[in-house]
């Protein structure tokens, strides 16, 4: 066996509260990210991701408090993304107890921030977000391999609202070269659709970089996680709603991966 495929639940956090609910029955406060993190820790999640979608920059103290309280009780790697723009932002999160920071918009407007954080704290803590959308709307769901724009994706920033004109694969290469330790590749076409990952996007990037790729966006079933690895060549799979709404457990995800012959953790240890 080799290194296990990581199953990573992602929680959207705004103003210190989880935005989408989780239906774990034993939670004291289902809106508290720390309670949910503890539940995922008990369930044997391989890592956890908090995405801070708080609109205003003034509320940074709130997410730092959430991270601090989570790190006291959860003993698995924690990635925090959303609003990380500088070495100082990264330092504050790491000191609060995050293990990695995910950087999205700032990596496009100021790619040097990736290099600065990697140099200061090591590449292992730098996750570069690659939020990508197929160039042509028409191709988004057809998967037509013969189309002229097939195999091309554009980087979007600001939560997928703003196109940048930057080619996704080129951006992935830039992030790797600047020192990112891994890439979080999210399909803007698939995000929220439950239609499965954009496997061609995932594979195109994973096959062309030496660092691990986390597949994200569109998971509706545990089989989508399996395909993210077998066909998307991802090293890790991230999902939100299937776990939060109890459609699948972490153990279901591990079982599905293992049943497909992939390395996954075999028990909550």
């Amino acid at each position: 066996m080799s290194v296990r495929i990581r199953v990573i639940p992602c929680l959207d956090v705004a103003d210190g509260r989880v935005v989408k609910g989780v239906n774990f029955v034993d939670l004291v406060d289902a809106g508290d990210p720390v309670e949910q993190a503890k539940a995922y820790d008990r369930a044997g999640a391989d890592e956890l991701c908090f995405l801070d979608i708080t609109a205003s920059h003034e509320d940074r103290a709130t997410i730092l408090d959430v991270v601090r309280r989570t790190a006291e009780v959860c003993f698995m790697p924690l990635t925090v993304g959303g609003g990380v723009r500088s070495v100082e932002d990264a330092r504050a999160l790491l000191l609060a107890g995050a293990d990695k920071v995910a950087i999205n918009s700032a990596a496009v407007s100021n790619p040097q921030v990736i290099a600065d954080i990697a140099e200061k704290f090591g590449s292992q803590c730098v996750v570069a977000s690659v939020d990508a959308k197929r160039w042509s709307e028409d191709d988004a769901n057809s998967g037509d391999a013969n189309s002229a724009t097939s195999g091309k994706w554009e980087i979007y920033i600001h939560g997928g609202r703003k196109p940048t004109g930057i080619d996704a694969l080129e951006h992935a290469h830039t992030m790797e070269r600047l020192g990112a330790g891994e890439l979080l590749v999210t399909s803007m076409d698939r995000d929220g659709t439950k239609a499965g990952f954009d496997l061609e996007l995932t594979r195109t990037i994973a096959d062309n970089v030496a660092i691990p790729v986390i597949a994200s966006g569109g998971v509706g079933h545990v089989d989508d996680l399996v395909r993210g690895v077998t066909q998307g060549h991802a090293s890790a799979v991230l999902a939100a709603s299937i776990f939060h709404f109890g459609e699948a457990s972490i153990a279901d995800a591990h079982d599905a991966l293992r049943n497909a012959g992939l390395p996954a953790r075999c028990s909550i240890n």
Binding site: S2, G97, D99, I211
Partner: protein, 213 residues
């Protein structure tokens, strides 16, 4: 001395994951953990833990730059047989040399070198994620229950090649065999992150806190 009364020194040399290790030691039952760069405190500690994330050279420089630190460690760990645990880069620093961003000398407590993974099409670098802990058959620390077989969380781009096979307590696999834990007398080093390895890691730390080499 009971575990409650023991003074545990967690060496602060600027490594980023101090608080995670601190929290994990608390969860493992430690009462008195001091995050410190005070060589006097370290010289008087009952157990010493050297954490580490980041690059070998930068960590080594930061550690060696602390006034009196290396003398205190040499006296306590090598001279005084105080239980010592190095984690990740903290384990790698036990080696003679490391070649991350240039050639650097380590503590030289466990014979070996730290080098990059061999380039390969089939593995991703860094080695990131949960992987198997496979115990060596003959190492005493593998036989005494201090380290158990199981799965633990790894995160590293360089690996420890031990010159003396008998110093290897456990191995894992990533594009080839990778040293997962080394040990000699009262000196223990783990490549994985116990503070990020859920129950496996916390229970290991609890056993380290009870360990009488």
């Amino acid at each position: 001395m009971s575990i409650c009364a023991e003074k545990i020194a967690l060496i602060d040399y600027g490594a980023g994951n101090l608080h995670s290790v601190y929290n994990a030691l608390k969860a493992a039952g430690a009462h008195s953990v001091e995050v410190t760069h005070d060589a006097h405190y370290i010289a008087a500690a009952d157990r010493i833990i050297l954490p580490g994330v980041g690059a070998f050279g930068a960590c080594k420089d930061a550690l060696f730059a602390i006034d009196g630190m290396i003398d205190a460690l040499e006296q306590s760990v090598r001279g005084g047989a105080i239980p010592f645990l190095g984690i990740c880069v903290g384990m790698q620093l036990l080696a003679d040399t490391g070649v991350e961003h240039g050639m650097h000398k380590g503590l030289g407590w466990i014979k070996g070198n730290v080098r990059a993974f061999d380039p390969s099409e089939t593995i991703k670098i860094p080695h990131m994620g949960w992987n198997e802990i496979r115990l060596s058959k003959h190492h005493p620390l593998a036989g005494n229950g201090l380290l158990l077989s199981g799965e633990a969380y790894f995160l590293h781009g360089y690996k420890f090649d031990a010159l003396d096979e008998s110093d290897i307590i456990a191995r894992t696999h990533h594009g080839g065999t990778v040293t997962a834990a080394v040990g000699k007398d009262n000196i223990l080093g783990v490549q994985f992150h116990p503070e990020k390895s859920q129950h496996y890691g916390i229970s290991f730390l609890a056993r380290f806190l009870q360990w009488r080499p």
